[in-house]
């Protein structure tokens, strides 16, 4: 891995160093005194970058204030709409915090990658805010959340057990994305961002279809991307669990009126535990013990399954795909060449060099696959344990991890002061 990075680094170095030789052949003599027009070389627009950071911090603060102090769903929603317009349609959904995870990972793996300040702020600020105020970023700042919040017209309730089981998919997505970035196979979160196509008013057909499906689904299942896919949500979830001040359903004391139970479309309201223990304590402890013992086995199973995934995972990397294609063409598996293989052949790099690189990458993916498997296994094991632990609760409370601080429940609480 390290050597690969070095290799890439040296490569970049070499090519940046080689300047273009000035073409010395003079232009024709023009009797008419013709002078050629200037070439239009507009620079990248830089103007908004500083503003993005300012707007991000401002909206985050405002969201925290609205959620914790004002406690008005409508105001939070208006802020959500603003974020949708600004971060989404105006700034084309880029830079976004969800994708910034990959930049950070790329910066960690390859010091030469360079992470701009904006991206750093977009990565860190929502997490820091989550540490103090819960997921206010999800509530009113994230454009991906905002567009789903806007279409969530008739949200149904996903059964709690299903919700909890499906919540491992963000972990899988996160793991895959990190592996992909670490191996240099690309930024898959950006590649498969379902809503950026709408923000930019244009994307490939399949991505538009995928985004459209997500939105249609989002009418009935609120925020499907946030709940079942968003990899950044995993980090926010962890931070929010530790939050110092988190949104509460009731401003003061819960009167156990049960009015709010149905108000949350995200299954994020934890009900008070019944007075009487639902089952025998000993039985619960026994089961918990077994589950804890089981975790290493699940992790091992994950490693085993992950090690099988070396081949399919390595196909994420274009170089491996190219090497396989070239090898396949050599074996006569394909009737004709494709653009990649033609370009490769024209570059007169020997096949062996490509194969060697692919083999090395595959080895990397082999290792990465095991880590990924172990990670997923660990997540599943932890989820099993977490669900089995019964925490004592006397009031109706939002779940600090999964609550998006959307504020829907505020108005259902009859306690106002």
């Amino acid at each position: 891995m390290k050597r690969y990075v070095l290799h890439v680094f040296a490569y970049v170095f070499l090519f940046c160093g080689a300047t273009f030789a000035e073409f010395r052949f003079p232009m024709p003599e023009f009797a008419t005194g013709y002078e050629h027009p200037a070439v239009h070389t507009p620079g990248p627009s830089n103007v908004m970058v500083g503003w993005d950071i300012v707007v991000l911090l401002a909206t985050l603060s405002l969201a925290a204030f609205l959620v914790l102090k004002r406690r008005k769903r409508r105001e939070i929603f208006l802020l959500t709409l603003f974020s949708l317009v600004y971060f989404g349609f105006w700034r084309n959904g880029c830079v976004c915090s969800v994708g910034s995870v990959q930049n950070i990972m790329a910066g960690l793996c390859d010091p030469g990658h360079g992470v701009p300040l904006t991206v750093l702020v977009f990565f860190a600020a929502p997490l820091i805010f989550a540490l103090f105020f819960g997921r206010v970023f999800c509530a009113a700042v994230c454009p991906l959340g905002a567009i789903q919040e806007a279409v969530a017209i008739k949200p149904g309730n996903v059964p709690l057990a299903v919700e909890k089981v499906l919540s491992i998919f963000p972990y899988i997505y996160l793991g895959l994305a990190m592996l992909s970035v670490a191996m240099g196979a690309g930024f898959i979160i950006c590649q498969y961002d379902p809503f950026v196509g709408f923000f930019r008013m244009g994307a490939s057909f399949s991505m538009l279809i995928f985004g459209g499906l997500m939105l249609v689904l989002g009418i009935f299942v609120a925020r499907p991307y946030c709940r079942f896919l968003c990899p950044y949500g995993v980090l926010l979830n962890w931070c929010s669990k530790l939050s110092r001040h988190h949104a509460t359903i009731t401003p003061t004391d819960c009167i156990q009126c049960e009015l709010c139970t149905d108000s949350c479309p995200y299954n994020a309201i934890n009900e008070p535990t019944p007075e009487k223990a639902p089952e025998d304590r000993g039985k619960g402890a026994w089961r918990l013990g077994i589950l804890i013992l089981l975790v290493p086995f699940i992790v091992l199973l994950g490693v085993g399954v992950g090690s099988l995934l070396k081949e399919p995972l390595s196909r994420m990397h274009p170089t491996v795909r190219l090497a396989e294609r070239i090898a396949g063409e050599e074996l006569g598996r394909y009737a004709e060449t494709n653009i990649e293989s033609e370009a490769f052949r024209a570059s007169d790099t020997p096949d062996e060099a490509l194969y060697a690189e692919a083999i090395e990458l595959k080895a990397g993916f082999g290792r990465g696959g095991k880590w990924l498997g172990a990670f997923i296994g660990l997540v599943m094991g932890c989820k099993l344990i977490a669900v089995s632990i019964l925490r004592k609760r006397t009031d109706y409370e939002p779940d600090h991890g999964t609550c998006y601080s959307c504020g829907r429940c505020f108005k259902y609480c009859p306690v106002k002061e």
Partner: protein, 185 residues
């Protein structure tokens, strides 16, 4: 009110998490490099046509650039006329560019100026191929930075078969073939 011990523990974990995030951010910025933008290395580009199809924008942010100081101002321009063109006029049957994005204007005998209409250009690179084969290679593809949204990872770079996409510092965002080119930005 939560018991005090629990509170302390939480504070500690929260502090640890903050340190973790800060650490990740710091280590990711170990080398504060300049801001990068994507650009095509004209020496490596093979004009496969994917710039036209794979950009997240439609039409693509990749456009044909024309370095006038390299151009031969030929009457018979390999980048403008189809190889099988019967005559050298601007008729649709003679033009190589599928979207007629190249404008031909007469300067003086026998020289013509070729200008790229960037609104029509889709970055397919067919003219680049023609110019490379027969001409001086004054036409080549570049990413137009007023259009490019500078994605995290350029979708064209991912699809580029000849590795021609690279990150260049935003202060020098073009890889022009001629330094003598007059530029306006």
């Amino acid at each position: 009110m939560k018991p005090k011990g629990k509170r302390d523990r939480r504070d500690f974990v929260r502090g640890a998490a903050a340190v973790l995030i800060g650490g990740a951010v710091l280590s990711a910025t170990r080398s504060r490099s300049p801001r990068w933008v994507w650009q095509i290395d004209p020496e490596k580009c093979t004009q496969c046509g994917r710039c036209a199809t794979h950009c997240v924008l439609a039409p693509s942010a990749v456009k044909c650039f024309h370095s006038y100081s390299i151009c031969g101002y030929c009457d018979l321009c390999g980048g403008y006329l189809r190889p099988d063109a019967k005559s050298r006029n601007t008729g649709a049957e003679n033009q190589l560019c599928p979207t007629a994005a190249i404008k031909r204007t007469y300067i003086e005998d026998p020289y013509f100026q070729y200008t790229i209409d960037e609104d029509l250009c889709i970055g397919c690179g067919i003219c680049v191929e023609g110019c490379d084969v027969f001409g001086n290679g004054s036409m080549y593809l570049q990413v137009k930075h007023n259009l490019c949204v500078n994605c995290n990872e350029c979708a064209i770079a991912r699809a580029c078969p000849s590795d021609a996409f690279e990150r260049v510092p935003a202060s020098e965002p073009y890889l022009l073939k001629s330094d003598r080119e007059r530029r306006v930005s």
